[in-house]
Symmetry: C2
Subunit: 282 residues, 2 copies
């Protein structure tokens, strides 16, 4: 492994490089970002060793870490141009439309559809951290469609990063992520909006934020440039998740209206089960 | 200050005592909990020095730290019985109905309506921590209705705990808390429920929980025994907050349906303002 090229030098692309440089210092990192400031920051922070728009022909892996709605076009264009020994992988949060877009591409077997389950509410190369991906889950979709020799390059890297591999259909991936990740972001954004709309005195919001609000609204700090594209790309599943969520909220509201104390208690008690699931890893 | 009696030896009552014992070791703590296990744990953990159902006549402060829907009756009964030098304060999450319930009580001036803005998703005496209240906000309602000499006892204690005092009408308090605290708990519980209902494989939920879900759903671990009463007591304001929240969600869903990318982007960008508010204290 000698050369890696990263397109999109934000939180994920940057954290990927910083981590890998610690364990594989021999790799030469090139990269590009359409935002000149991000490109400059990535050079300054040592995320890439050299800025260039196109990967060298002998690049081992090209990583696409740009917003979800840019990936299909970028992936097709990248596959069109790459050499015979180059693997392309992406870090996109949605997989179904992307896998469909390249299903018939003559170089489909040069592509590995990936999604690291890691992130923070911050974005850009300055938010990148060498330990962001450590011990996190990396989902691979349609792994059987990637050439076995090229795939080995990805495994070498992901293992070096201590990532835990999971395998899933793109459809299954997008559906699960709509519920566990995308819905969380929407509920958080809408909570933030509701509170901002209603409470004029910001000092009051801050003073009371200790009461659980801060963690519940944390994701409302997230980048619109990352999230508006995800809502576009995973529209179908996100709409389903939102419908169920709104329906659950409405039923809960009906219980409050009806003074159904037992019903409210029971509903919350059942949901406490989430505790066991979140503690699985402990 | 020689004696404090605490009724309700859970997270808040317990943390209050543990913190105060560090700075005022001379105080003798008595207390009671209707749950025998909690009472035993509170003794074992040193939260109280002595278990007794009724406070001694020369008790300086009686703290009521039981669920919100039990407070009115308990407060009236306590005021009926206390001596002339005893202050009663409560830690309830709702204030309007409670202040109404004792508005005409002959010993109204023995009562201080309080609410410490602190908590975790855990409950019971074993969850109590000596630093839970440190530097947190303590809201006092109708402070002018408490006798000035008795009030001084509360200030002495709250100052010793490094708490930051804020003053508010009970109506204003309940309205703000509905938006900043109670709504957060409901959105979190319903997020947990939606994900549990939909995803059968709990391992999948766990694996993907890194993607922001864990923090957004954290409050769904909270105690139904604490929260069902709050929903009862603050029904009017919680219903208003939920209506606005559901309406915001529906409008956001409409933007996704309409592929209104600009609208989604703009809505999230505006809500990013929450970042500045949450960072006010930094």
């Amino acid at each position: 492994m000698k050369k890696i090229h990263i397109i999109g030098l934000g939180l994920l692309g940057g954290s990927f490089s910083l981590a890998l440089k610690q364990v594989k210092p021999e790799i030469h990192f090139t990269g590009f970002d359409s935002n000149p400031q991000n490109l400059q920051d990535a050079l300054t922070l040592g995320i890439i060793d050299e800025a260039k728009e196109k990967a060298d022909a002998d690049t081992d892996i090209i990583v696409l870490a740009t917003p979800a709605n840019t990936l299909s076009e970028l992936l097709i264009q990248t596959l069109d141009e790459i050499g015979s020994e180059t693997l392309v992988m992406d870090f996109g949060s949605t997989k179904e439309l992307l896998c469909q877009a390249v299903a018939e591409h003559p170089k489909r077997d040069h592509y590995l559809a990936g999604h690291p389950i890691a992130g923070t509410e911050y974005s850009g190369p300055k938010a990148a951290k060498a330990d962001l991906l450590d011990r996190k889950v990396f989902i691979i979709c349609e792994m059987e469609k990637t050439d076995i020799h090229l795939k080995a390059k990805a495994y070498e890297i992901l293992e070096a990063l201590n990532m835990k591999l999971r395998f899933m259909d793109p459809e299954e991936h997008d559906k699960h992520l709509a519920f566990v990740s995308h819905l969380s972001h929407i509920t958080s954004f809408m909570l933030g909006k509701t509170v901002l709309d209603k409470m004029e005195d910001e000092k009051n919001i801050f003073d009371m934020a200790g009461s659980g609000f801060a963690s519940t609204v944390r994701l409302a700090k997230s980048s619109p440039g990352m999230w508006a594209p995800i809502m576009q790309e995973n529209k179908k599943n996100i709409l389903e998740a939102m419908s169920l969520y709104i329906s659950n909220l409405s039923k809960f509201r009906d219980k409050i209206i009806a003074d159904d104390y037992e019903g409210l208690y029971h509903e919350m008690e059942k949901t406490n089960k989430i505790k066991d699931i979140l503690d699985l890893g402990k």
